[in-house]
């Protein structure tokens, strides 16, 4: 609820006269119990710390992973399909006798790369497009947004599959495909926020001072739309991890025998009837990683006080 002015009895006589022009005293909502508010804020900050910590841990794991474990591709046939907790293999072995834990840790890097890089690429391209569209005249704006609408008309997963299928398997192609899929939503957020800012007074001041569009974009718009973009992109990492895993699952991402969580899952699918728990492991890992980033996005949104957008 908005507050109008307070009828201050202190020295500001002039302001008071202004205020009391319509005998307008003030409107304040019914107060809620004061004890609630700090507790909620406290909880929010904790969730930010925890999810942030976990996300950073994942990224670190991705970076140093391959250095701290052995070769993920060696396996002996005799050691195949051991269950969780077998000696020497904490999480068991897969169909070719390769240690699951090793493969998971080593697989963190390709999985995280496929999850994070497309978001970064799409963030740069998408926000440039969106801000540009937001600051441009009607025609340019319309052209850009309609073009994006065409991409939006495809179910995201299908588009990713179609592009990745067309380009062929491989991490690079998966990244390209996922970037293309993520550009429209990011561009839309950038455009919406830029349009919202465009009507504000400080933008007019910037234009009046003779600044060109690029510098306005960089100095005024970007810092203000930053929070919304960061929040979306964090959640997008979660989504992208899942999509990337899915592409690998279908045989379109990282080529075997390189470890990657999605392709590990695909590989273990055939053993579902004999050793079901094995397949659970990479499945859980992908899910957990995605949840962490989604929750981080939520926590960031609360912390940065970004308005909720119904984006799914």
């Amino acid at each position: 609820m908005t507050q109008i002015f307070r009828l201050r009895g202190d020295a500001a006589g002039e302001a008071l006269a202004e205020v009391t022009e319509a005998a307008n005293l003030e409107t304040v909502p019914v107060p809620r119990a004061a004890a609630d508010v700090p507790r909620r804020r406290h909880a929010r900050r904790w969730s930010l710390y925890i999810t942030g910590f976990l996300a950073i841990a994942l990224i670190l794991l991705a970076i140093i992973g391959p250095f701290i474990v052995g070769d993920p591709n060696t396996g002996t046939v005799t050691a195949r399909l051991k269950g969780v907790g077998a000696s020497g293999h904490l999480l068991g072995t897969d169909g070719q006798g390769r240690d699951m834990l090793t493969r998971l840790v080593a697989g963190a890097r390709p999985s995280m790369i496929s999850g994070v890089v497309p978001v970064l690429v799409a963030a740069v391209i998408g926000s440039t497009l969106g801000v540009f569209a937001g600051l441009s005249g009607r025609v340019v704006h319309a052209i850009i947004m309609r073009a994006l609408d065409v991409l939006y008309a495809f179910p995201a997963v299908l588009l990713a599959i179609a592009i990745a299928a067309a380009l062929g398997p491989g991490t690079k192609n998966a990244i390209i495909s996922l970037s293309v899929v993520l550009i429209p939503p990011i561009a839309r957020i950038a455009e919406t926020e830029t349009a919202r800012l465009r009507d504000m007074d400080f933008m007019e001041a910037a234009r009046a001072s003779g600044a060109n569009r690029a510098s306005i974009a960089l100095r005024q718009v970007l810092p203000n739309i930053g929070p919304a973009l960061v929040v979306y992109c964090t959640a997008a990492v979660g989504l992208c991890l899942v999509y990337a895993g899915g592409l690998s699952f279908l045989g379109l991402g990282v080529a075997p025998p390189a470890p990657e969580w999605g392709s590990m899952l695909n590989d273990l699918r055939q053993y579902i009837f004999t050793n079901p728990t094995l397949a659970l492991i990479p499945a859980t890992v992908i899910g957990l990683a995605s949840i962490i980033f989604n929750l981080l996005g939520d926590a960031l949104r609360d912390a940065l006080d970004v308005r909720k957008e119904a984006r799914a």
């Binding site: 065409v150 279908l250 045989g251 899910g287 989604n294 984006r311």
Partner: protein, 314 residues
């Protein structure tokens, strides 16, 4: 209202044309020369170029596009290179199966989502509320394929309750058989939308319940139940807003579900065509899905405008 729908339809046409262009271009970026592959290793250059012309793949890019587009509009989507059957027939019957699955999943998603979201909104501090909000947070993130595998393991392999593949049993048929076979795939496909719906419904309901007019309704002497009905009515616009997106997600995500459960739908068809490099089928499959998505969005938007007349004026 009519003008609204007409406007939306008119707006959709350029988008649909753009969609066909994207689908066309997507296949064009595939490396290698599909015609040469098709003609076989022993073909002469003359035979290859004749084949190329016959398939409409000679000439400039716009010409090729027009050739493909004009045939597609008439329902001729070409011949499957892998199966030598008309693509149109394959795609339509597969699409029908996907629609069945999508409908099944949608029902589960809506029921589950509304129940979880509603409980979360009405009893926010109770155990139920906390559980439902945790569940919806998890279900949003869960990868479908992971979930599918978990469900298969626990609801089929270990218990034998539900079948894990196909649409009907080999010697079975009929509605109940369909429901049984469709149960696991439908839950898998519908769980993420259920989570999203739960979340949106919960926050929309909480928002509405905090609005002034709820107090005004109580002051009119309406029972809690009647006030709740009106409150829920006011969440429908928000729900419809995301409904379109969620249906799109369903249409796209079925690829995984159909692959895992061997459900003979469009997703499985596209997947098999990817392995077989069957370009006409891939093209047609993606095209049909995209067109269906656009049409669904128009329908959902129109429903939204029907319920909330504020939307019509913009």
């Amino acid at each position: 209202m009519i003008t609204f729908v007409a406007r939306r339809l008119g707006y959709a046409i350029p988008v649909l044309i753009g969609v066909t262009i994207v689908v066309f271009l997507t296949v064009k970026i595939i490396p290698g020369d599909p015609v040469a592959l098709l003609a076989g290793p022993g073909a002469t250059p003359v035979q290859i170029s004749a084949l190329r012309d016959r398939l409409g793949l000679g000439g400039s890019l716009p010409d090729q596009y027009w050739h493909w587009f004009s045939h597609a509009i008439q329902g001729q989507l070409g011949l499957s290179t892998a199966k030598q059957q008309p693509v149109a027939g394959m795609v339509w019957s597969a699409f029908g199966n996907t629609l069945i699955l999508a409908a099944y999943a949608a029902v589960i998603a809506i029921v589950l989502g509304l129940v979880l979201g509603g409980l979360g909104a009405l009893y926010p501090r109770s155990i139920i509320g906390k559980i439902t909000s945790a569940l919806s947070a998890i279900s949003i993130s869960a990868p479908q394929y992971s979930l599918a595998i978990v469900l298969i393991i626990y609801l089929a392999v270990n218990t034998g309750w539900f079948p894990v593949s196909g649409m009907y049993s080999t010697n079975g048929g009929g509605f109940v058989d369909l429901l049984e076979h469709g149960f696991l795939p439908a839950i898998t496909a519908g769980l993420v939308p259920a989570g999203v719906i739960a979340r949106i419904f919960r926050s929309a309901l909480l928002d509405v319940l905090a609005m002034d007019f709820v107090e005004a309704l109580r002051a009119r002497g309406f029972s809690r139940r009647r006030v709740l009905v009106h409150a829920i009515h006011n969440t429908v616009p928000s729900l419809l807003t995301i409904a379109g997106l969620q249906l799109g997600y369903l249409l796209g995500g079925v690829v995984f579900v159909e692959t895992i459960f061997s459900w003979p739908g469009l997703g499985l068809l596209v997947y098999q065509s990817i392995s077989a490099r069957d370009l006409p089928v891939i093209q047609a499959g993606v095209l049909v899905s995209a067109v269906a998505f656009v049409v669904i969005n128009i329908v959902v938007d129109s429903l939204h405008a029907l319920v909330d007349s504020r939307v019509r004026v913009s």
